[in-house]
């Protein structure tokens, strides 16, 4: 940490010892705004120093910051005690990387929010709660406007819940949004994903399924990939979200032997007007910027969509780390025989699609004054 740590906002991690939790810890090592000072996890880790709780279970190449090593891990389920510790540490909000059942996660996140703690979550539990925004910072930053309504309705003062969508849709939401902004909304999409094993956590996918093999199924993933975009493209109606009706999406989700990086092959039909050429589309993507770029958030990729002209890109190992692993890399834009266009899009699932996306959401919420 090159900067004086006292300038930074102290934050906590729920589920700090799991794979997404480790990503948060690692990515926040040198964050200019935030600093991890609180960690909660399962009873197995509770009462241990963070370094001891993850000994032999740390999955990442990059390690944790020295000051994180000695954080005493709380039991995430022992809410009152954990919230006490959180507040004693002067923390401001938590990133939730909980890996419990949906009902447990929902309840726990609500308890933290009710205690005045903003919860920025990676978990899927609250994605379909109708007053909880599902944020991609470049795509729907205005969905944060629901937060005052959410707080009021639930009687929460400072706490609230905001979530990020599933990692499988990250690669194609931004290019589609860029086209929407340029006046070319999509009518129908057929999307085929080839998803990395890190998406399933650790131990996750057995190696017996991933050597000389692929698995054409990921439980629940197709439904999420088809429905979540409609909420993200939706609007606030009263104090809840109303889904968009388009695009209609059909998703085929597959697991492939790749460590990090979800690849999507997309065939797209425009709803109305069509771009005049492939070059126009590439220009739209190259020019695409959102609030994270305009306000220069620390985790914002300079160029959210990178187009590569080579025949055989993007490829997960070669392109996933583009711009701090926060950019989407696209290639192979060409005419579709059946719809209008087709292309291949890639996004780093455990950075942009998980902890990095969560941090960017926190930067957005900080910028908007909610933290």
């Amino acid at each position: 940490m090159s900067q004086n740590s006292s300038d930074k906002i102290p934050v906590g991690i729920l589920g700090a010892t799991g794979m997404v939790g480790q990503q948060y810890i690692s990515l926040l090592n040198d964050h200019p705004w935030f600093e991890v000072r609180f960690a909660a996890a399962s009873p197995r880790s509770a009462g241990k120093k963070y370094k001891d709780a993850v000994a032999g279970r740390w999955q990442l190449t990059k390690t944790y910051a020295p000051h994180v090593a000695d954080i005493m891990v709380e039991d995430a389920n022992d809410v009152n005690r954990a919230i006490d510790a959180f507040k004693k540490g002067g923390c401001s909000f938590v990133f939730s990387a909980l890996e419990m059942s949906k009902d447990e996660t929902k309840a726990l996140e609500e308890q933290y929010a009710a205690a005045g703690i903003p919860v920025i979550s990676n978990a899927s539990a609250h994605r379909w709660t109708d007053d909880v925004p599902v944020l991609i910072a470049e795509v729907n930053p205005e969905h944060t406007d629901i937060i005052p309504l959410q707080k009021k309705e639930r009687g929460w003062d400072r706490g609230f819940i905001a979530v990020k969508p599933n990692c499988s849709i990250q690669s194609y939401m931004k290019p589609i949004h860029a086209l929407v902004k340029a006046g070319y909304p999509a009518q129908r999409l057929i999307v085929h994903t080839m998803q990395a094993v890190s998406g399933a956590g650790y131990p996750g996918v057995p190696s017996l399924d991933m050597i000389d093999n692929i698995v054409p199924y990921i439980g629940g993933e197709e439904e999420k990939s088809e429905k979540e975009p409609l909420k993200i493209f939706g609007s606030i109606n009263g104090n809840v979200f109303k889904n968009a009706e388009l695009p209609i999406i059909s998703a085929h989700c597959n697991r492939v032997p790749v460590i990090d990086g979800h690849t999507a092959c997309v065939s797209l039909e425009f709803a109305g007007k069509k771009p005049s050429s492939m070059e126009e589309i590439k220009k739209i993507w190259a020019d695409y910027k959102g609030l994270p770029q305009e306000a220069d958030f620390p985790f914002a990729p300079k160029q959210p969509i990178i187009y590569r002209e080579e025949d055989n890109r993007p490829q997960p190992r070669k392109d996933r780390d583009a711009d701090k692993a926060m950019a989407v890399v696209i290639g192979r834009l060409r005419q579709c025989n059946v719809f209008d266009i087709r292309f291949v899009a890639l996004s780093h699932n455990t950075v942009r699609g998980a902890a990095g996306g969560g941090i960017l959401n926190a930067e957005l919420l900080k910028h908007k004054g909610y933290l």
Copy 2:
């Protein structure tokens, strides 16, 4: 060879030392009708015994028959000499597994045919020659009717050329054909393939591209996948083929770290009437039979389409070898949000999709009296 070899039809292999040639040699080890007695390859192998020509280059687990070991390999390009050797050996026809340029292959296959030798080819060179049938034995056996016209037009007496289609389309042509036969032709298809590295031969795809990676591109493969079905579903018009107009296909072809077995994710829109239920479709597939099954050809899978009810099948390593690696294995039939149905289909690319498919075509041509 349990059987007296003198009962069998002696056959030759062009390109006998390459990867597809090896597959032919290996699969014909115990064939009840055919026996390899002639092998031609590149000048490098010419003049050597087969066992010496493949020493250190044999790629398969299963080895070649003892009598093949001592076949003296001819230079495939030294056509007159090779044809002499072929005829001295009393051979009846050749399987072509040539790996030359398209023009060289075309010319060479025509020279053999002109010399009175039927050529059953795996090469793509003649797939778009308008009087050459592209055969999948269950799907379009009636396309062999072009052969007398081809011979007459070209002034060939006994020789002719028949080819098989690209390996990438094998997995979905039979299920689609089954639906056509049941009165449910397809209007549009979006197909996404995840193809095995053996499809690129040896050395083929570098390991640096296939460890922790996939490559979303295979040169020329999408065009073949989109056009070849139209010839196969087409009809004889005068003495040439006329393509079908449907289905319109958009293909996304990817290379994945799998040894053998191409997997396809298919979204399908029916042209007219639709099946009443998923159960009806499964029944259509289960009941699907073609001439190979009716006439009980040696290489015919008993059941050409095997449907698996598990959520996560077919998988290449577990399903590619179904019924001698000649069956198509399908799973995950479900409604498509955008079209009518979607499903996953798998076929062994170097057996059903290459040498095994060629042998089945030879069995068809023998049955029809052309060999």
Copy 3:
């Protein structure tokens, strides 16, 4: 089953639904002597038909025999009831593929033996029980002589326990034994293994550890690899085994991204006299035969040690299936700068090293009159 099943000896499998149990079921499909008629497993599977107990969990390409599908699975822990069912089925002995704790396995195998049921085990529990033989059928068939002593000492009439050693040592025990028989015992060995993931069962090794990675550690494996050979090369002393003192072994065991097939790199120092040449050693290996070959047991490889002259063999994917996956394949015999010789040896870990080795042991015990 081509043969009338009533001619065959009915046998049972303990742990029938696990990965090794599945291998037993699959390998015994067409066994000329034995036929599976009894299956016991964990309470989760108990009371189900075998086909239902393994639905969605069957790991192998080859499936189970039709008559096995309907076997009602017993609870292996409900010993009295299981033994009743076993005896009602007229079964003769059990293969044990139990995957419980060591103490549970030990106790359970003893209960079956005490009930008069011979137990031929894959489990490691009884490998260091001093009156239990650890058998490699070619290497120490005479160790079956302990069985009468074991029965007498323990007061068992028909039942007894015989086990097979760890899969990691299969590849080098036979070549070393061949040298011992030829008068060239080994003094010291440094062995380095690269072991397949199937050795860890399912789910076993996480894919996150086996993509772009190897793991230089397998818990307990080095100790087993160093000690078990000494019992196998040992002798019966009174009514217990006395270990051999040589060879002294140092093992480095690694997990690599291979489905099946353990590879070992061996440096060997002879204890006394040395072979005159590499050619002499190759001849010793080529000529090596044991009782399984002499008596022509169904699962015996015709040639237990196959030597390949290529520079770069053996390789797991290409060589593991040699001779029904029961042969050891060796290559790269050359001088060692430090000891006398070095070579690479390969054995199929779930066939020769597990169920196939167990079946060969049963054939040995049947031949010797113990079943």
Copy 4:
């Protein structure tokens, strides 16, 4: 480049478009002392801008610096013209990453040296030239003392040749050297390597050999692994090197499906006195420093040997990038049943073992005043 580029020493790369050349370009992006201003490669690339010469062939995740993109690539074989361009660019020395035959490389490197250009080479061509030092900067920095003798003998004024050893030995040379310095030289070593595919360049190892497989052979690698350490541990005798006699090494080299990172399993016998405990050895390794650390070279790892206490480390994917991929990571130090100790060591083969090691050698030579 944060720094004014005019402060830096301009350098050239021979073989700049190959895989090692790309590594040099990439690693030198932000080097505080050196800046790439000259690139030579094969005729195919000559006359093109660097960015065009590597278009579609760039293998690395990290890209090249903007100013490198426009360097005009020279034909490395057109020596006079290339040397002219080199000198016009005011360059000081070249890194040689040539991928030609041994004889061509030898001749070409000598031509550059004769023209007054120091050549710091990755190629193996001159490793056994008796007046050329083979440098590992921490281990034998004093071997640079041969350079004045080399120049004088050959009549070169400013030019000279210095090389680095094979990537396979990097992981164990430093731990062994640390023990030598502490008074515990090794007598005998049996080393088993599991080497990454990047060591074979691109296209390099076919994926058909690296999916569900390992290859127990790398041409020439075992000989290099056994002999090069003796030169490195040797001494200057007159104006040539005299090899050390110890340690005697026996190497087993294997190719495994890993992108980067060579792992070695080592069994070691001490020549004389032995360390009193494993703890003493770990302390020796932890305390090990060389000239690169003492003089704080930019590419020097802070701690050249990192010991990990976990049972199952080092692992290539998790440990290869330790300290800029320049540190050796060791684990599993334990007693050897046959020799004295055994351990596992890991080094990044294309950074520490190739371009990174070359850059560290250049830093050493700069520090010593030879550049």
